[in-house]
């Protein structure tokens, strides 16, 4: 009996979204298959890894992170360069956490200075995320978009309460927008429709489904991303065909499983390998579900995900 490989052909295809310019640009999306299914279609660009840089010195981060990143904490420029030069990041994701009005409440101008300094120091493309405060983010991201004109960066996140101003800033200064909705297929689609109705081209939109970490709601994120992706491929739904970005590093590294010491949890084994695996397994699961851009934190987790790409023949 001859075995006929049961392959699937999809009518839809993920949109290509370009980030950065010239020789240093990267492209997310473009595939007409589920991630790693290249036996039945093509994936012209492998998924991308953005490494996180914070605009303030982190407090209470895991020892595993401090050991490898601690020397550049408090200096976003050095941190970004290290991720680019030493750790092979595809992009930098600058998290402007200090602008949070409920936290350090740094001014828009200070944030813009940090963005300019990082942009000036790196050659790989940049993603700039605000603090998550919708009102402040809309002010901050508007000025960031202006300051980065011509660089084709990603600004985010646009949410229900601020998408108009964030999308307007992206249109005005030709940047890409990451639109965030809380783990829900229909809400993600709705935000894409609203932003494209404003005139933002679909090629300038990423879907951020607000993922959870392994053990903290990963199964919801996994299935929502999988359903997003099947809607894009099987049903050829144009408003679901944007690449998916997962802001996962921060979710992983705030779990106790990723950060507590051996003394506090001897039954969980070596804390360094545990934290790295917590991030790596979260990342690999999100990739399998359909994520195109991972925002990650630990260099060794990044290295393991890159090895995974290599083993799947994606370079």
């Amino acid at each position: 009996m001859a075995f006929q490989a049961p392959i699937e052909q999809y009518s839809g295809k993920i949109r290509e979204v370009t980030i950065g310019t010239g020789d240093n640009k990267v492209v997310a999306g473009g595939q007409n298959i589920l991630t790693f299914y290249d036996f039945e279609g093509t994936m012209p660009h492998r998924p991308l890894i953005a490494m996180e840089v914070y605009d303030v010195e982190p407090q209470d981060w895991a020892t595993a992170l401090k050991d490898t990143l601690g020397s550049v904490w408090g200096d976003p420029v050095a941190w970004a360069k290290k991720c680019q030069d030493d750790f092979g990041a595809d992009l930098i994701c600058l998290q402007l956490i200090s602008t949070d009005p409920n936290g350090a409440d740094k001014s828009v101008d200070e944030a813009v200075e940090t963005v300019k300094a990082v942009l000036g120091a790196i050659s790989i493309p940049l993603i700039v995320y605000g603090s998550g405060n919708a009102d402040k983010d809309s002010e901050v991201l508007k000025k960031v978009a202006e300051a980065a004109q011509g660089q084709n960066i990603v600004i985010g996140t646009a949410v229900e309460d601020n998408y108009k101003s964030v999308a307007a800033a992206a249109m005005g200064f030709n940047q890409v927008v990451s639109g965030e909705t809380p783990i829900d297929v229909n809400m993600a689609k709705q935000l894409n429709i609203l932003m494209t109705n404003l005139g933002l081209p679909a090629e300038q939109i990423l879907i951020d489904p607000a993922v959870g970490a392994l053990g903290y709601g990963l199964e919801y994120a996994y299935s929502v991303i999988e359903r997003d992706r099947l809607a894009a491929l099987q049903q050829n739904d144009a408003m679901m065909q944007m690449p998916i970005i997962a802001n996962m590093g921060r979710e992983v590294w705030k779990t106790k499983e990723a950060k507590i010491s051996r003394e506090e949890a001897p039954e969980w084994g070596d804390p360094t390998r545990r934290g790295i695996l917590w991030e790596t397994i979260t990342a690999v699961s999100l990739l399998m579900a359909g994520t195109d851009i991972l925002i990650m934190r630990h260099p060794e987790s990044v290295n393991l995900v890159k090895k995974t790409f290599a083993e799947f023949g994606l370079n």
Binding site: M1, A2, F3, A5, P6, E8, F36, Y37, F39, D60, N102, G212, L214, G215, Y216, G217, L218, E219, Y220, Y222, S223, E226, R227, L230, K254, T255, K256, E257, E267, W268, G269, D270, P271, R273, R274, I276, L277, W278, T280, I281, V284, S285, M288, A289, L304, K307, T308, E311, F312, G313
Partner: protein, 451 residues
């Protein structure tokens, strides 16, 4: 090929007696065709029809049980390609690989460590499931002696891995009664291995150089009377194994090809020398579509995230995981520590408890049974309501654990505070933050009064 509902209907009594639980024979036939019912439910079907229909009435992927008693591992019987379509049913079994060329003391120590590699999470026990014992030496007597020692060390079911029938026979003389998985039948040894599987009524793993050859081999074994099979596609790279697993799952479920309607075995231990990448391979096969996963290294920092992933992926999407109702101590609270309540949706509990832990402030975290809903959903559904919260607080025994009488409720249900105070009598209700992320800040400045 599987039969259609109409093909099946022709073989049924057509009396519409309803004794199968479905009102009409036609509806029952349709259910059978979809794999949603078993022919045994029909008390009037003829033997002749039974034989004709046995293929169509069996589930598209057979369930296979390894081992006996409480520790037995069942894999297979999956019905969907994507978990959101229904659910994944039988979580993959994790096996630790040891072989008879290893230092024996070291091998036994690894198995002993595996016995206690076990955690409780959301009311479930996360644990390894099997020990794979390999005849690396090729020596039958040495293998049997090693199997004896491993079996004496653990209650977990075994996977016996040997190529020669002589080695397998010796090992089965020792361990055959506990129904180990016999690994593996290949083109060269299939007849001898089939005899052993039948003699011990043990499940048999099958390996071939291609999926086509694999299907031929399972067809032959099935004809020889060996029904409990496990498929090894024979690939030993991440890319090829993943491709094979996808093909096998689709062949079984979408094409209904019986020769491929069995669970799979994957062996990350033989796919990479890198211990961290071994975990990545395993993670890929947990998501898609490994039945058994054989690992060289299952040290706790690897096993825990993999077992949590398995729990996440195999959670029924229609039935959210729930935490048991009760007060949970966080950061060693005492009689003066804050008392807080939230709902028993596992995600809510995990997020709230991790934020409280992260705050380093001691607290009593009360989890109210609202049938696994989040705070706002439970409130909207009338389940996170003053009567239920008050009854929980009163019956929980927290009044003996703390000296004060003050309870913190989530900011999203601030409107409950007045009514809850009425219900609770001597308790004061304080409204906490709306988002768990703000709990650390809240707890730093909050102390219950009268404490």
């Amino acid at each position: 090929m599987a039969l259609t509902g109409l093909d099946i209907y022709k073989q049924l009594p057509k009396t519409n007696c309803g004794e199968c639980g479905v009102p009409t024979c036609l509806a029952f036939a349709m259910k059978l065709a979809a794999g949603g019912a078993s022919l045994d439910a029909c008390p009037h079907v003829t033997e002749e029809a039974k034989n004709a229909l046995s293929a169509a009435s069996a589930p598209p992927m057979r369930g296979v049980t390894i081992g006996t008693g409480n520790g037995a591992v069942k894999v297979g019987e999956e019905l969907v390609l994507f978990r959101h379509e229904k659910t994944f049913f039988n979580a993959p079994g994790f096996a630790l690989l040891v072989d008879d060329m290893m230092d024996e003391g070291e091998a036994i120590a690894k198995v002993e460590a595996l016995n206690i590699t076990k955690w409780e999470r959301v009311g479930q026990i996360l644990t390894a499931n099997l020990v794979a014992v390999k005849n690396a030496s090729g020596d039958a007597a040495k293998f049997a002696s090693f199997v004896t020692k491993v079996q004496a060390t653990t209650d977990m079911p075994l996977i016996l891995m040997a190529d020669s029938a002589e080695s397998m026979e010796k090992a089965l003389e020792v361990a055959g009664a506990s129904k180990p998985l016999i690994y593996t039948a290949t083109e060269g040894n299939a007849d001898a291995f089939a005899e052993l599987a039948k003699k011990y009524s043990a499940p048999l793993a099958v390996r071939a150089a291609s999926l086509e050859a694999l299907g031929e081999l399972t067809t032959k074994l099935d004809a020889a009377g060996v029904k409990d099979l496990v498929l090894d596609p024979g690939t030993r790279t991440l890319k090829e194994t993943f491709e094979s697993l996808v093909y096998l799952r689709r062949a079984a479920l979408k094409k209904k090809l019986r020769p491929y309607g069995y669970p799979t075995i994957t062996i990350p231990a033989e796919e990479t020398d890198d211990d961290m990448m071994e975990a990545v391979h395993a993670a890929v096969y947990v998501a898609k579509y490994g039945g058994l996963i054989v690992m060289r290294d299952l040290s706790p920092e690897k096993a825990y995230p993999l077992f949590v992933l398995r729990q996440n992926i195999y959670t029924d999407p229609q039935r959210p995981m729930q935490v048991e109702q009760g007060f949970y101590p966080v950061n060693s609270p005492d009689e003066n520590s804050p008392v807080m309540v939230t709902t028993n949706f596992s995600l809510t509990y995990f997020i709230v408890s991790s934020e409280v832990e992260g705050s380093k402030q001691p607290a009593w975290l009360g989890v109210v049974d609202v049938e696994g809903l989040s705070v706002l959903t439970a409130w909207a559904a009338g389940k996170f309501v003053p009567e239920r919260i008050a009854a929980f607080v009163k019956k929980s025994g927290i009044e003996e654990k703390v000296k004060h009488r003050e309870v913190v409720i989530p900011g999203y249900v601030a409107q409950l505070s007045g009514e809850l105070e009425d219900e609770l009598g001597d308790w004061k209700v304080t409204v906490g933050p709306r988002e768990a992320g703000d709990l650390a800040t809240f707890l730093k400045s909050y102390q219950p009064v009268n404490a």
